[in-house]
Assembly symmetry: C2
Homo-oligomer: 182 residues x 2
Amino acid sequence: MLAEPHSGYDLKKEFNQSLRNFWNAELSQIYPQLQKLEKDGLLTSKQVASENGPPRRVYRRSEQGRRALLAWLLDGPNVGEERISYIAQVFFLSQLNDPAEAIAFMQELREHMARWLESLQDVERCWQSEDARYPDQLPDDAFYQQLTLELGLKKVKCNVEWCDESIARLEARKTAKKSHIP
Amino acid sequence: MLAEPHSGYDLKKEFNQSLRNFWNAELSQIYPQLQKLEKDGLLTSKQVASENGPPRRVYRRSEQGRRALLAWLLDGPNVGEERISYIAQVFFLSQLNDPAEAIAFMQELREHMARWLESLQDVERCWQSEDARYPDQLPDDAFYQQLTLELGLKKVKCNVEWCDESIARLEARKTAKKSHIP
DNA sequence: TGTTCCATGTAATAAGTTACATGATTTA
DNA sequence: TAAATCATGTAACTTATTACATGGAACA
C-alpha cells in the first residue's frame, strides 16, 4: 500500500473500501505500526501540508520494505490460520436448546451474507462500467484485486446457499421432532 | 466445550481435531485463559489424578459461564471480522512483477486447498460410516457440527475452483503479453 | 448549530505467538 | 534408545481493540 506515499488516514480509507472484505485495521493500530515500521527501517516518512485540514505525515516503503513484502509473498500462501467467528457460533448452536432460536440465528446470518453479496456485486458493476478492459485486460495491480473480488463473490454466494440449505434442514428437523413427541 | 469437565490439554486436542478448520488456539493461550475465566467466575476447576501421566486440572463452566455462552450466541452472528491472509497476499501479488511467480503462488494455494478438501471429505466419510443417523437424524450437538463441516466442504471446493480459474486467466494473460511484445 | 470529514495520536487492556522449562510414560 | 504422548505452565513479545483526547474546516 505504500509503494506510493500515503498517510495513515489514507490507509484507513483503503481498508474501508476494498481490503475490509478480508482484512481490517483501526487507525489506533495503523498509526503506531507506521511508527514502528519506520523505526525498523521498512518505511520513511515526511510531513506535508494538507489542502483541507491539519498537516499530514505521509509514509513510503523503503527498499528494505519492498524486499520484506516480496519475502512475504515468496514464502508462499498463508493457509490454515483462518478464524471465522460465526462458524464457531454455529458449532455451539445446540447449546441454545431451541431450534427456533437456531433458525433465527441462521436467518440473520443469511441476511448479512446477502447484503455483503450485494455490496460486492455493486463493486463489480462499478469497475465494469469504469474500465473497458475489465476484467482480463486490466493492468496488473487491478487484475489481482479483481481476482480477490471474484473469490469474494464466489465465497459469499456459497455462504448464502449454505444458510438456505441449513435453514431448510433445521425446519425439517423441527417438524419431525414435533410429530414424534406430540 | 466445558459443558462437561475437560483439561486444557483436552481442549487442545478438540481444537486440533475439529475446530482447527475455523479457529485455533495454542496451549500457551489456553492455560492462562482457563485461569482467567475461573478468576472471572465463568469456570470452576479441580485437580484429578490421571491414568497415564501427571495430574490433570479439569475445568467446567459455571452457571454464569453458561449464560455468557448463550449471550454470545443470542447476540447474533459475528460477521465482518474475517482476516484471510492469503487473500491479502493475492491482492498484492502484482508486486512480484513476474507472472510466473504469481502462477506458482496460485498453484501452491490450490494444492493446499485440495489437501484441505480431502481431509474434510475423510472426516465426512468417517462420520457417515460411524453413525447411521448421519446427517439429518443426528443428535443436536453433532448435527450443528455437521453443518459447519458442510460449509467447510462447500467453501474449500469453491477455493479450489477459484484457483483453477485464476491460474487459467493468468496463463492466458502471460501468453497474450508475450505475443504483444515479442 | 450540530454533524461529518480531515488528521493526528496516546493509554489501557486484551488476545495471541514463540520460545522456554519440566518430567513421567508409552510406543516404535 | 529415540520419539511421541501426556500434562502443566511461565516469560517475552507482538498484535489488536476500546476508549480517550484534540482541533480546524466543510456542510446541512
